[in-house]
Point group: C2
Chain length 351, copies 2
């Protein structure tokens, strides 16, 4: 049987170093780590993680909870979080919370004895992070936060982003504006809306309640809600969406209904996920530094795992308006007229 | 300390049943499983997974390897695979293989002692699945396969799909056709191309080598390659892409270059991921039953974990042509003329 002593000899390091590498100690230099792992590979050494974790009480597993993996926002965050975790000797236990009872999520994460959990999607009424924090498990919330829960938090400036979106639309002359909200229990959607509404109010523009609709961060629901909004009289000249995916849904609906963007309708998203820049969308949106946010979340989690007693940090990243092709000047408020309903299979014209 | 006996009493089941539930035995009826988990939750029982896995030699963890989580194909597969695994008492250990050395992947999966691995993306020269299969670890390959490796495999009919794509373009009168290949080490890209080329040859149409380009399954690379193809003389009237993401890249490039789809250029993708049906793309593509494929892969893996000696299965799902708005009749072969180069920020016209 190959032992960790054999690995140490092969790699030319001490057995303690082998042990540190296999326990994911991030203080081991990368070349040393590589040498040890190569020796492990060459000798076919299989450390017994179950036996090891009985001793170290660490599993080197981190739970990463996303709300909806079919929303491209989450794969983008997950990719960065996972890559950062792997770089520090951890592995991601994936958790797609959509449609699953919260308690079951928590239970199975505790069962696996993860060393910590990154929540990219908590809901304001969620007990899950509270339970885990109360049990002393290292937890970091990224993107969304919970009111009154003491733990490490990394968020974007959502209220400021909402304000910036409003300012942009006001400057373009829009007054009749619709809003598509996401999950009403997400802090992000709430704060984006609060900032947006407050900035409009400063210019004396009041939102028509009938034009504020919930589309649950989903492309399909946003398409359905947009179709309703297109029938409003007078029709809104702009729609602010609490995420990019809903904005794509609005663009899809506009294409189906023959509503010209931005001539007849301006659309603003939120997050600036990678697809927003595609020529098929060219979405005006509010950018959050998603990669930086994800990196910082992992950094805080690993610090917390190593020093459970350190003070909690709350880091807020600034947001930024990115103007692309989906916003333009508001024409005089249009009366609802007959619209050209393009066939779904009509050829597309490229501007 | 709360024990599994307390949980059994609370749930009104035997201790053996509690143990079966916590070990993820899929034969326990769902209501019983729920009752046990509720009791676990109520009593705050924390089974020690490390101690348990020393006894059962099972961790209830399954590695799921994807090639590139920023390609929406993979989140779609991952979502189904994870949901199926959770339903059977397993958790997903996520593995994004992009840019990471294969041996390190294998090493860390072995370190965590996963009960099995689902590969959604193997390369033809990859040693990783071979190593794991040789060590007796349950492995299932889904989507891509490896030549000559005995293990459970779930794939789509890629060659047939390639043939169907060729047939569609031939029927529309296309003769000057370009191809964007994916990763040259992926069986999917290879087989799609083989089927496509063979079907063209049956009608006496030979591919111009200069129009067959590698774009690595990436949207950005496909955009760059498409720009080259637009400059070819004569320009191809159709582009077949070995996945949908590359087709989106071609559509993006067409929009930027002012090439009208489908009037001047037909585009065919492969997979029919969810976004392909969006009005912003309306992509003609070859559909694989991705959800069914993912479900079947998990089913085979769990069977293999429970009965390591059973015969290997290879399941091939049929492919299907889905015609949307990106393909149309080929006009007479066009000479390359001056193209309108639209500003990236020009307003979009909706057909």
């Amino acid at each position: 049987v190959v032992t960790s002593w054999d690995v140490a000899r092969e790699a030319g390091v001490s057995q303690a170093t082998v042990s540190r590498v296999l326990n994911g100690d991030s203080k081991v230099a990368a070349p040393t780590r590589a040498r040890v792992l190569e020796a492990v590979q060459r000798l076919g050494y299989r450390p017994n993680s179950a036996a090891r974790s009985l001793v170290t009480r660490r599993t080197q597993l981190v739970g990463v909870v996303v709300a909806d993996i079919s929303n491209p926002f989450y794969p983008q965050l997950l990719g960065t979080i996972d890559s950062e975790l792997v770089g520090r000797g951890f592995r991601t236990v994936f958790s797609n919370s959509e449609g699953r009872p919260h308690d079951l999520q928590t239970q199975t994460l505790l069962e696996q004895r993860v060393d910590g959990v990154v929540f990219t999607a908590v809901e304001l009424d969620s007990d899950e992070p509270r339970t885990l924090v109360a049990q002393g498990l290292p937890v970091v919330l990224v993107n969304r936060y919970l009111d009154g829960l003491d733990c490490d938090v990394v968020v974007g400036d959502n209220e400021g982003g909402g304000r910036r979106a409003a300012e942009h639309l006001l400057e373009l002359g829009h007054r009749r504006i619709a809003v598509l909200l996401g999950d009403p229990l997400a802090s992000t959607s709430r704060d984006r809306f609060l900032g947006f509404r407050a900035r409009l109010a400063e210019d004396g523009v009041e939102l028509d309640e009938a034009l504020v609709r919930i589309a649950d961060f989903s492309c399909e629901t946003a398409s359905v809600q947009a179709a309703f909004l297109f029938d409003a009289d007078p029709r809104p000249t702009a729609i602010f969406c609490a995420n990019d995916l809903m904005a794509f849904g609005v663009l899809n609906a506009a294409r189906r209904a023959g509503v010209a963007v931005p001539e007849e309708l301006s659309v603003v998203g939120f997050n600036d996920i990678a697809y927003a820049a595609w020529e098929s969308f060219e979405l005006t949106t509010i950018r959050l530094p998603l990669t930086e946010m994800a990196r910082t979340a992992v950094e805080l989690l690993v610090k917390r795992i190593e020093s459970p007693q350190r003070a909690f940090e709350r880091i807020v990243f600034p947001s930024l308006l990115v103007t692309r092709a989906t916003t333009g000047g508001a024409a005089a408020e249009r009366k609802r007229g007959p619209r050209v309903r393009a066939s779904r299979h009509a050829g597309r014209t490229v501007a």
